[in-house]
Every structure is written in structure tokens, then in C-alpha cells.
């Protein structure tokens, strides 16, 4: 039987942290999907060898500190405005790979106008949309994406459609816009989902290189703190409740 120390040797290494991730400890709660998606973005940038050519735009939400975790150029934007800032960056620097990284409170609420118009104009950017159905950063308030019946700190008895309207499938709206070339909904809770999600992110960044317009990737995510469940239970809750409503798969691939 091989000794562990015989296996743990440099030449046998088959998986390790991407070099695009910094050594800072991520500020996210245990099990947070933001960490998994950061890793996938980092791996894609590393594999495409575009570290020097990538500019991220990160607005407000738990991922507001993404610049501490991704070793690339990142421009901060105010809440919801990342698509507008990314428009400017991508137009001024057309040889760069520009992406936004936005939560659902950010993209589907305060920033609805910005995202719809950037996608409608077909700005040559990647949009990464972390949909955890809640305002994570500010303490788990209801988001436009919260499910009917979902308890949040501002809907403790569950979201009521009569009072708060219906959950918004903004990705389906985005897919209608002629400016978008690739619109997909992914998840990152299993190894298979992680592999697929990474492929989608890779395709989106390649689309920017090929000047194809806007590529939009929703990642159905968890927020164990906001949902008040353990990370493992959060994934189970997501599979049981989020995925039947937010169905995974490509909505558009041109």
C-alpha cells in the first residue's frame, strides 16, 4: 500500500488552487457559492492566459471585495451599475476581456435598467450573475428573485406574490435581446455542475475574444447565512426549490 507521503509529491499533483486566486482568505461564509465561481473565473483566465488582458467590474454585494481574491485588474462600480461601467471599459479598451460579476439584488433589482440596456446594445462583455435569491450582504432581505413562499428577513412568513410580486426570471428576459449571443443558467453544487459551469464561463470569455456581443451566465447559488441553513442543507434546498423554478441549461447560443 502506497504511503501517503509517497503520493503527496510535486510530480503527482493533479489539482491545486489557480494562480489567478490570491492567497487572501476569502471573506465569504463557509460554503458560499461565490467562492466556487471565483475559482472557475480564475481557472478560465489562467487557462486562456489572459491575466493581463482581463478587467473585472464588481459592484456592491458580498462580492464587493472580489479584487482582494482575484489577481487581475478590477474596477469597482456602485450598486447595479457594473454593466454601465463595463460598457465604458470595453469600448475604451476593445482588446481587453471585460466582465461584470453581479448578485441578484444588484443585477435584478437596483441595476435592472443597466443590465437590460447593456445586453440590448450587445456590449462585448461577459456578465456573471450570482443568483442566490436573496440580498446576502445586507442580512438576507427579499430579492426580486426570492421564490414564492421563501422566508427572508423581510418576508419572514415567506414571499407573498400579492404583496411582493412574482420572482423575476431576468435571464429569460435577457435571452430575448438581440445583443446577447450566449445566455445560460448554470449551478456549481456538484463536480458535474462545476465542470459545466466552467465550460460556460470559458465559452463566454472566448466570445468576447471573438467580439460576439454579450454573454450572460446565471449561476443558481446558495447563501447559507441568508437562508439560515448549513452549506450542505443549502445545496439540498437549492436542488429541491430553486432548480425546478430556475431550470438549468442554455437559453441561447448563437
Amino acid at each position: 500500500m502506497a504511503d501517503i507521503n509517497e503520493i503527496i509529491k510535486e510530480e503527482n499533483l493533479v489539482y491545486s488552487k489557480s494562480k489567478i486566486l490570491t492567497d487572501n482568505i476569502m471573506s465569504y461564509c463557509p460554503g458560499c457559492t461565490h467562492g466556487v465561481v471565483h475559482k472557475l473565473v480564475a481557472e478560465v483566465i489562467e487557462e486562456m492566459n489572459i491575466q493581463e488582458k482581463t478587467i473585472g467590474v464588481c459592484p456592491v454585494g458580498c462580492s464587493v471585495l472580489a479584487y482582494k481574491f482575484l489577481n487581475i485588474d478590477i474596477q469597482q462600480a456602485s450598486h447595479g451599475r457594473a454593466p454601465a461601467v463595463a460598457t465604458a471599459v470595453a469600448r475604451l479598451k476593445p482588446d481587453k476581456y471585460v466582465f461584470t460579476y453581479q448578485g441578484d439584488g444588484d443585477l435584478a433589482s437596483i441595476g435592472t435598467g443597466e443590465i437590460i440596456h447593456a445586453c440590448n446594445r450587445g456590449e462585448n462583455i461577459v456578465v456573471i450573475f450570482i443568483n442566490n435569491g436573496i440580498y446576502g450582504m445586507t442580512g438576507g432581505q427579499m430579492a426580486p428573485t426570492s421564490l414564492i413562499g421563501m422566508p427572508t428577513s423581510t418576508s419572514p412568513y415567506g414571499r407573498d406574490a400579492k404583496l411582493a410580486g412574482n420572482p423575476l426570471k431576468i435571464t429569460e428576459l435577457i435571452a430575448q435581446l438581440p445583443g446577447t449571443t450566449f445566455v445560460t443558467r448554470q449551478a456549481a453544487h456538484t463536480p458535474a455542475a462545476v465542470r459545466k459551469c466552467k465550460k460556460a464561463i470559458l465559452k463566454a470569455f472566448e466570445n468576447v475574444g471573438n467580439k460576439k456581443g454579450t454573454s450572460f451566465i446565471e449561476v443558481v447559488s446558495t447563501c447559507s447565512s441568508g437562508w439560515k441553513l448549513s452549506p450542505v442543507k443549502s445545496n439540498e434546498w437549492m436542488v429541491e426549490h430553486m432548480l425546478p423554478f430556475y431550470q438549468l441549461g442554455d437559453l441561447k447560443d448563437e
Partner: protein, 78 residues
């Protein structure tokens, strides 16, 4: 006969004890330690190292990217 053997190395101080690696390991290799790290988290470790195949499932889902995976082809019975 050659058999694939694996091992993982966890960056203990950065692990947040979320257990996502524990539940995706097909060989039930990983458990959380009774001890805690400097941040107070029960960190992941190989409780059952003989069973690791180096499949990388655990590392792929780890939100904090703190798992390194190693793999060798070992001779069974050697």
C-alpha cells in the same frame, strides 16, 4: 495490476469546515476534525486515506480552493 491511488492536502488554516467536500467524495475519505483551526472551524482531513482515488471531486467544489489533489498509479499488493 495497477490501481490509482490518491491523496489530498488541505490548507488547514484556510478551511472553513463547510463539509461540501465531505458529501461529494465518492469514497467517503473526508471528515471534519474534532480539533479547530485558528478561525475556530473544524477543518477537513483524510479520515479514510486508503480509499482516496485522487478523483478531484472534493477540490472542485471547495469554495475556498484549499484542497490540493495528488494521484499515482500504485501496484496492488506491492
Amino acid at each position: 495490476m495497477a490501481k490509482v491511488k490518491g491523496a489530498i492536502k488541505v490548507d488547514v488554516e484556510k478551511c472553513k469546515g463547510c463539509s461540501l467536500c465531505v458529501v461529494v467524495c465518492p469514497s467517503k475519505v473526508i471528515a471534519l476534525a474534532k480539533e479547530v483551526n485558528g478561525k475556530g472551524y473544524n477543518y477537513a482531513y483524510m479520515a479514510n486515506p486508503e480509499e482516496c482515488t485522487g478523483c478531484t471531486n472534493c477540490a472542485m467544489v471547495c469554495p475556498d480552493s484549499v484542497i490540493d489533489v495528488y494521484r499515482v498509479k500504485a501496484q496492488v499488493g506491492a
